[in-house]
Amino acid sequence: MSPVFGHGRLRLYLLKLLEESPRHGYEVIRLLQDRFLGVYSPSPGTIYPRLARLEEEGLVTHEVVKGKKVYSLTDKGRAELERRIDELADLEDEITASAQEFAREVQEDVRQTVRSLREELTQAARDMREQGRADREAWRESARRQKDEWRRQKDDWRQHKRALKEEWRHTWEDVWTAATGDDDALGQMKLDRILRKFADDVQQVAGRGVRLDENTLSAARELLEETAERMRLEIFQRPQDD
């Protein structure tokens, strides 16, 4: 075990107060005040962090009673107190000595806390950096994978381009025939294109999760037949009448 207690007799004294009986923070403050005969009135800010720290180290535990924290000694804390019983006897004599003595305790204790905080933060930062390095390694790996993916994508594109070129040639041939062919052929081709587009559009609309049951289909067929009829009457036959 690390020498949790190589310092801070003030904390030893806190443990002793808690060994006598479980107490809440304010009571501890009042007892310390009595102890120093009013020379020093510790503020909550000086006591609670120390209790918290003792708790972190597992020497003290607390339970909430009526909304107040009542601190008590753990077995580990009791063992620690046992181990330092001699020191405690000295402490009894010394601690009443003077505010000066107390100030020295405070200084030593804060210094210790600060030192361990610095160590803790440095260690945490180091751990995080290690983690960061692992992350970077993972990132590099994923970057490599990404590159492969890119290469595949590029091949895909190249094939696509070829297909596109082919299509272009077809379209061009269409246009060429249209431009050089007679008017009838041109009209026919245009109509073809309109119809094909119409079919595509309808298919696209129908494709979006609509259930194509008997009713829908017959409705669609009706509409199409009606349209075809209208076209036959209104567009393709009327011009002959004019």
């Binding site: 009013g38 020379v39 009135s41 918290a52 204790d109 804060v110 600060v114 905080l117 803790e120 930062a125």
Partner: protein, 271 residues
Amino acid sequence: MSRWTIDEPTTLDFDGVVALKITLVAGSISILATDDPPSLHVATVDGQPLQVSHEAGMLSISHENLMWEGVLKWLRNIRCEAEVTVTVPADCPVTITLITASAVVAGLSARTSIKSGSGNVTLDGVTGKIDANTVSGLIEAQGLDGAVSFNSVSGDLTLAHGSVAELSATTVSGRVAADVDLAKDSRVRISTVSGEVALRLPASTSAQVTLNAAAGRVDTSFPEVQRLERAMTKSFAGTLGAGEGQLNVSTVSGSITLLSRPDEDMKGSDQ
């Protein structure tokens, strides 16, 4: 008005102190809060005597004559060292000036203002406004609660287990380390030239964060704080929680570490 010139161990009691001013060249000064009548205890005086005056509640203790009238003389190494302990009411504002002397301040709740050359200062459970200017002196604090302003050339600032509503720290090569809670709407602004900055905040902190390092490294364990694409400097920014407070850290060549710690309810909720 009362005056004393102290050249031997002495204890004085006062009926009331509303403000305290101390100037010490070497040695140590301890200032503790008390509910009893204020007192001054001088444990040792070596060399120059201490001047003490108590006027209209203002207690002043100093090596002052020596300091301002004869700095040169003082530099020609005259001994002037004293160990002083003062107890005052918690709400007494305190002004401390130190050359190489160290100071301990515990339990005060008004304004604490410190000027120090190379003297180290320990603060314990001090609340209210704290103002510290040092050359190379360290400030080490535990259980602070309030507004802290720190300026130093090479002195370190360390805040353990406290809460700040406002923290502004400027150093050249001094390091800043803090493990604190940020009060609601807190403003934290830290800038150093080459000093490292390490902060640890509760995971539930609510603040707008920006971290800038020109040449140093920046690490954070808050996933919300992300690197910005910006040339020349490393910039990180992000919003923690609702983003009520502000946290700005900038350094030229120092490193910045922002860590999160799990929330705890260890604050003195039972006061």
